[in-house]
């Protein structure tokens, strides 16, 4: 490659438009002339068109080769970037870009979620403990009731009713407080509402079941033993 060609290639890099910008038009004109000439030599127009194309060869390839003549592709790309003033550094994928932008939110959400789990678990354990304790306190009373002729199932029903009433009252108060208390987290909710039926329904049910179990198990134990043994126990 002579120095002149190198020089004109370099010059072409800075020139806008590049010398091959009008190449497509030039080639189209060429094909039209050839077609016209074929028509003049008594060829049907359609055949003339295809004959011209055949004569020309691969149009895309010719364009590409001509374009390549004017530069070094990699350098061209760099120059284009420079022209538009877009410095490319700090390569990153779009995915990680998004992931980075939501990292803080995600952290807070995960933290809140784990707190919520722990809180629910603590509530269940606490409820269970309180109910068990309440029933255990009434062991003497239940033994006396048994001795006076009450049946085991009637006693179970008695304590469980009390536990159920307390739990339902607690859940009702909790649900009433939902509109106020969810204000804090509403901004963090995504694709769900603060009044999500599944959440608002499942937590009271869980608490209710825990309360029933917490009252039923000690009550059964208390009523299954001989009243005299229970009375003498303390």
């Amino acid at each position: 490659m002579s120095w002149r060609r190198t020089l004109s290639k370099v010059a072409a890099l800075f020139r806008r438009p590049t010398p091959v910008e009008d190449l497509a038009e030039e080639i189209r004109a060429h094909l039209e002339m050839e077609q016209q000439e074929n028509v003049e030599s008594d060829m049907p127009p359609k055949d003339a068109h295809y004959a011209a194309l055949r004569r020309f060869g691969n149009v895309t390839l010719a364009e590409e080769r001509s374009r390549e003549m004017w530069g070094w592709l990699w350098l061209e790309n760099i120059m284009q970037d420079l022209r538009y003033g877009v410095p490319i550094y700090d390569f990153t994928t779009f995915e990680s870009l998004i992931s980075e932008s939501v990292a803080q939110r995600r952290f807070t959400t995960v933290l809140m979620l784990s707190f919520a789990f722990v809180a629910t678990a603590l509530a269940l354990i606490g409820l269970f403990g309180v109910m068990t304790h309440l029933v255990a306190q009434r062991q003497r009373e239940m033994a006396i009731r048994m001795a006076l002729g009450s049946t085991g199932s009637a006693l179970c029903w008695l304590v469980m009713r009390r536990g159920a009433v307390l739990t339902i009252a607690g859940c009702a108060i909790g649900l009433l407080l939902v509109p106020q208390s969810t204000r804090v987290v509403r901004g963090m909710l995504y694709q769900t509402s603060a009044y999500n039926v599944v959440t608002l329904g499942s937590v009271p049910i869980l608490l209710f079941v825990a309360a029933l179990l917490a009252t039923y198990l000690p009550a059964r134990r208390a009523t299954s033993v001989d009243p005299m043994v229970a009375l003498r126990h303390q």
């Binding site: 060609r5 080639i27 004569r55 001509s66 003549m69 004017w70």
Partner: protein
């Protein structure tokens, strides 16, 4: 004009197309199609020039500064890019012509020693 693809057509040697284009432009400025037609006519349809291969060559010659291109209107009122030989192109054509003549003579000498001596 017969357009059959006869097999006795000859593919161009590398570098030959450049000098043929320069030679064609010696007649005056013309467009890509005109150059292709001229080459075919002058070689009596012996040389096979795929028209598409002219365009990369035209770019190369422009870069060397041997030809310049400019848009114009043909006699059929069509827009076309006309190529013109520059002074440097003329010098190049002279140099290349003598180089090709030596090349042809050398090949002929190798292929047919007796005859070539006769010519000299």
């Amino acid at each position: 004009m017969p357009k059959q693809q006869s097999d006795d057509r000859i593919e161009l040697v590398y570098g030959a197309l450049d000098v043929l284009i320069l030679r064609t432009l010696l007649w005056g400025p013309t467009h890509g199609h005109g150059i292709a037609k001229s080459i075919e006519r002058m070689s009596e349809d012996t040389l096979r020039v795929e028209h598409g291969s002219l365009y990369p060559a035209l770019q190369r010659l422009q870069q060397e500064g041997w030809i310049t291109g400019q848009w114009g209107v043909s006699k059929n009122n069509q827009r076309a890019k006309y190529y013109r030989l520059t002074a440097a192109g003329r010098r190049q054509l002279v140099a290349e012509t003598s180089r090709w003549e030596r090349f042809v003579r050398a090949i002929a000498g190798v292929l047919n020693p007796a005859k070539s001596e006769q010519w000299q």
